[in-house]
């Protein structure tokens, strides 16, 4: 069965390491914060200028001057720091964030990612996404493997305008965990009960299937 949103977040959380500074994009990536393994500490970076983002505030704690990059009211954790947008993106662009998790429309075998613009639809902007994908060494893209109409989002070449070129190495879909190497997707893990054949049939880009593709366990 395809992974639920929560399972996607849980699987991503296994990539966390103690002491990681992490930037989580809007949507499913945000859920990763709920699955930080016991005994491990990570610190969340929000690109509007906050390192050490905490939980949502209680009614009593709400402060209009304390929001995250999704414009949601938040709190700070102990040891947080707050700074300008220039400093925030210095961190991001300079590669100081250990892990970035974000969604996408398409990724391809060259590590290209398209996530911000669908021609013909209103373009709202890239926000910080282009900086995040260009700045991070370690990025996990989370997305559904195929569109509602069954069209693969894992391509030989992205069809949509790019967010970044050659910057993605890890993709987690609702069906599989894949790595991108030397111009191909490599199937590393599959969702519980999802067959290799199904993944192959829903992957348009070049896919390498190792002899053994373990099932994820939850």
């Amino acid at each position: 069965m395809a992974l639920s949103r929560e399972q996607i977040a849980m699987r991503v959380a296994r990539e966390l390491q103690d002491g990681y500074y992490v930037n989580l994009g809007i949507g499913i990536p945000t859920l990763v914060a709920n699955y930080v393994p016991e005994g491990m500490e990570v610190m969340l970076q929000s690109e509007n200028g906050l390192l050490g983002m905490g939980a949502f505030p209680t009614e009593a704690e709400i402060d209009a001057d304390l929001i995250n990059a999704g414009k949601q009211t938040v709190t700070t954790t102990k040891g947080a720091s707050i700074f300008s947008s220039a400093e925030s993106f210095a961190m991001i662009r300079g590669g100081h964030v250990d892990l970035t998790v974000l969604g996408a429309f398409e990724v391809d075998v060259q590590g290209n990612i398209a996530s911000w613009m669908i021609p013909g639809k209103l373009i709202k902007g890239m926000g910080g996404a282009m900086d995040l994908v260009a700045g991070a060494d370690n990025i996990i893209v989370t997305m559904t493997h195929a569109s509602k109409h069954g069209e693969s989002k894992l391509l030989d070449r992205c069809t949509l305008p790019l967010t970044g070129a050659g910057c993605i190495k890890k993709v987690l879909t609702d069906l599989a965990w894949l790595e991108i190497e030397d111009g191909a997707f490599i199937l590393r893990e599959r969702a519980p009960g999802v067959s290799v054949d199904e993944i192959v049939s829903k992957t348009a880009g070049k896919l390498i299937v190792p002899d053994h593709v373990p099932e994820m366990e939850f």
């Binding site: 949502f56 009614e59 070129a165």
Partner: protein
Amino acid sequence: MAGFDKVVNSYEEAMAGLESGMTVIAGGFGLCGIPENLIAQIKQMQVKDLTIVSNNCGVDGFGLGILLEDQQIRKMVSSYVGENALFEKQLLDGELEVELTPQGTLAEKMRAGGAGIPAFYTATGFGTPVAEGKEVREFNGRSYILEESITGDFAIVKGWKADRYGNVIYRHTAQNFNPMAATAGKITVVEVEEIVEPGELDPTQIHTPGIYVDRLIVGSFEKRIEQRTVRKA
């Protein structure tokens, strides 16, 4: 006003000299840390054909969104827009131009503008529509694009506290783009919640030194919240 006292007593005075066709750099992220009253003053002045450099364009009826009501904005330079219907309509009608700029590049362009750096290279946007028409150059085997800095005729900034000399500190994430905006205006106007006497702020804890600030005014703020998210106590 004598010496370094930057305090002005009216919003008219704060924005005096702003004319149609000018470029205004605004601090703020979403509706957080936006110079609400300076924006309202721009609306009141009814200047037109403005180029506004700001990460976002407010919402319908609040923040920079109110400048759309009378079509005062000709061009927005932003990383994320379209949180309001009027913006969308004017964009589709071709009444409004948008130059979408990655958020980090936008912050750096403002900083560079204020810091006398005319241009810099960044990997952000390489291989994307943002790179169109821009020089690409390799450094250490990686490709970067050339981005030019931004300066404005005016910068409008929202601070928390300032002393009369214009030394400003910001509150929490209401800092965001404000410090860079403050450096990049020919005339920089800062509105704050409280003005204190020089010497009351710790010199090592100033976010925006007074040298960048031309005019300072104290105002009161609605501080509208865009996404009110709470947990149970």
